[in-house]
C-alpha cells in the first residue's frame, strides 16, 4: 500500500516537475524573443532618426534659405565635429557642414539653411537646433535686430535691447547672444550645469567680425576662445553652435568647400579669357576677367585655412569681385558668377 502511494506521489511530482521545466523553457523562449524584439525596435528607432538627419542634410544641400520643423522619434542627438550620434549609434562624415548645439533633445528639430556666398555661392550652411533650447539676444544696434530677424520664429528666442532680468524657465540649455557688452552671469541660471549655459559676444558688423565664446563656470563666465565670421550666415551659424571647437571645425569644412568651388571659378574665368578678341567690348571684358582672376586666386589661397587673417582677405576680395561682376554686366560681358 505504502509502496503504491509512494509510486503515485512520485508520478504526480514528476508530472509537476516536467510541466514546470517545460513551462520555464517556454517562458524563457518568449522572454528572449521579447527582449530581442525590443532591442531591434530601439535600434530601428535610432536608425530612423539617423536616416531623418541624413535626409535633412541632403535636403539642405538642395534648398536655399528655408526653415523646416521636423518631427522625429523622441531622442537625444549629439553633434560634434563630422559626427552625429544617437544613443551609441553614430555616423561619421568626411566634411560635414552642420551647425548645431552639442546636444539636441526632444521629438522636434528646427532646421534652417542659409547660402554661404563670398560673393558666389560656395555651399549651403545647415543649421539645426531643438525648440526646447532657449536663446536670449541682447543688443540695441542693427546687427542685434538683424540676428533676431534671421532666426526662425518657431525657436524659443527672446530679444532685449537692454540687459534683462533673466529668469530660469527650465530649459535644458540656454544660449546668450550679446552684441554690445558682456553681461554679468545671471543669478537665476547658477544652478544649471556648466555645459548647459553658454554665450557669444559679437564684435563686428554684417560682413565680418570676431566672436567670443563664453561658458558658465560656477557663477561666472569663462572665456573659451575667439573666432571669426564672414557674412551673416556664418554669424547665425555661430549662434546655433554652442562650442568653439565645433564652430571652427564646421567653418574649416565650409572653407574647404569654398576652396573647391573657387578652383572651378578660376578655371572658368581662364577659359573665358581664351576667347579671341575682336571688338573693343571683348578687350574690356578680358581686362575685367584678368582683374577678377587675381581676386579668385586670392580667395583660393585664403580659403585653405580658416583664420582671422584669411577671413579679412576673402571679405576684401569678395567685395572687389562683386564690383567686377557688376562691371561685367554693364559692359555686356559674360558674368563671372
Amino acid at each position: 500500500m505504502s509502496l503504491r502511494m509512494n509510486k503515485k506521489a512520485f508520478e504526480i511530482q514528476f508530472n509537476w516537475i516536467f510541466v514546470l521545466v517545460a513551462g520555464a523553457a517556454i517562458i524563457l523562449l518568449f522572454t528572449s524573443i521579447v527582449i530581442k524584439q525590443k532591442n531591434i525596435a530601439e535600434t530601428s528607432t535610432k536608425s530612423t532618426v539617423l536616416k531623418s538627419v541624413d535626409a535633412i542634410i541632403t535636403g539642405a544641400s538642395v534648398s536655399t534659405d528655408t526653415t523646416n520643423i521636423i518631427t522625429i522619434p523622441n531622442s537625444n542627438i549629439e553633434v560634434s565635429c563630422n559626427r552625429i550620434s544617437i544613443s551609441g549609434i553614430s555616423r561619421q562624415y568626411e566634411h560635414l557642414i552642420l551647425y548645431a548645439p552639442s546636444l539636441m533633445k526632444g521629438d522636434k528639430l528646427i532646421t534652417q539653411t542659409l547660402t554661404f556666398s563670398v560673393p558666389y555661392r560656395a555651399t549651403n550652411l545647415l543649421l539645426v537646433t531643438s525648440p526646447q533650447l532657449r536663446y536670449i539676444i541682447v543688443g540695441s544696434n542693427n546687427l542685434a535686430k538683424e540676428i533676431n530677424k534671421s532666426m526662425p520664429a518657431e525657436l524659443k528666442k527672446e530679444f532685449y535691447q537692454n540687459t534683462p532680468q533673466i529668469r530660469n524657465s527650465n530649459n535644458y540649455k540656454v544660449r546668450l547672444v550679446l552684441i554690445e557688452d558682456m553681461i554679468d552671469f545671471p543669478e537665476s541660471l547658477e544652478k544649471m550645469p556648466d555645459n548647459d549655459v553658454s554665450a557669444i559676444k559679437i564684435n563686428g558688423d554684417k560682413e565680418k567680425g570676431a566672436i567670443e565664446f563664453w561658458q558658465k563656470n560656477g557663477n561666472s563666465w569663462q572665456h573659451k576662445g575667439t573666432s571669426s565670421y564672414i557674412g551673416k550666415p556664418s554669424l547665425i551659424a555661430a549662434v546655433y553652435t554652442d562650442n568653439i571647437e565645433s564652430y571652427e571645425c564646421n567653418m574649416q569644412n565650409t572653407f574647404t568647400r569654398l576652396n573647391l568651388v573657387t578652383r572651378i571659378f578660376v578655371e572658368r574665368t581662364k577659359k573665358l579669357m581664351e576667347k579671341e578678341l575682336v571688338s573693343i567690348k571683348e578687350i574690356r571684358c578680358k581686362e575685367l576677367y584678368t582683374n577678377a582672376l587675381f581676386y579668385f586666386n586670392k580667395i583660393l589661397t585664403a580659403s585653405l585655412n580658416f583664420n582671422d587673417e584669411n577671413v579679412n582677405k576673402i571679405s576684401d576680395s569678395a567685395k572687389s569681385l562683386a564690383s567686377n561682376n557688376k562691371d561685367a554686366q554693364l559692359n555686356s560681358c559674360t558674368l563671372l558668377y
Binding site: 568626411e94 573647391l260 573665358l272 558674368l335
Partner: protein
C-alpha cells in the same frame, strides 16, 4: 505493470503535445522571419531608390556645375565651362566627393544640336545588388558662346 504503462503513456502524450507545440512555434517563427525578411528587402530597395534620388538632387544643385546669373541659380542648367573644370577636380578629390555622390556613375550627355559626353564621377562596386538609373533632362549652357544646348544628366547608383 499496467499502472507503469499508463503513466508512461501519459508522459509520452505530454511529450507529444510539447513536440507538436514546439513544431507549431517553429513554423510560426519561420513564417514571421520570412515576412520580416521580405519587409527588410522592401525597405532596402526603397532606401536604395531614395539614395539614388538624393544623389541626383545633390548633383543638380552642386555649385561646381550649376549655372548662375549674378549669383541667381538657374534650375536644371549645367554650365559647360564649369563642367570641364569640375571633371578634373572631382576625379582628383574623389574621396571628398564620395561623401556626396557615394557609389555612382554620373554622366552628362549632350543630345542636341551636337552629341557630346562628359563623365564627371565614377565610383563603382563589383558585387552590387541594386542598380538605379535616373535621367534628368537638362539645359547645357556655354558662357563663352552664350549658347544653350539640350542634354541629359544620367545618374547610375549602385548598392549592395
Amino acid at each position: 505493470m499496467k499502472k507503469q504503462k499508463k503513466s508512461q503513456i501519459q508522459i509520452g502524450e505530454t511529450i507529444a503535445v510539447l513536440f507538436v507545440f514546439f513544431i507549431l512555434v517553429t513554423i510560426g517563427f519561420i513564417f514571421y522571419a520570412k515576412v520580416i525578411k521580405g519587409n527588410i528587402e522592401l525597405e532596402k530597395d526603397e532606401l536604395s531608390q531614395l539614395r539614388s534620388v538624393g544623389v541626383a538632387q545633390r548633383v543638380m544643385f552642386m555649385p561646381e556645375v550649376q549655372c548662375s546669373e549674378d549669383n541667381v541659380i538657374i534650375d536644371n542648367c549645367i554650365d559647360i565651362l564649369k563642367l570641364e573644370a569640375a571633371k578634373s577636380l572631382i576625379s582628383e578629390k574623389e574621396l571628398y566627393y564620395y561623401d556626396l555622390l557615394e557609389f555612382s556613375d554620373i554622366k552628362i550627355l549632350q543630345i542636341y544640336p551636337e552629341e557630346a559626353e562628359w563623365e564627371i564621377y565614377s565610383r563603382k562596386i563589383d558585387n552590387f545588388r541594386n542598380k538605379f538609373l535616373t535621367n534628368v533632362p537638362i539645359s547645357l549652357y556655354n558662357p563663352a558662346t552664350r549658347k544653350h544646348s539640350f542634354g541629359v544628366l544620367a545618374i547610375e547608383t549602385l548598392s549592395r
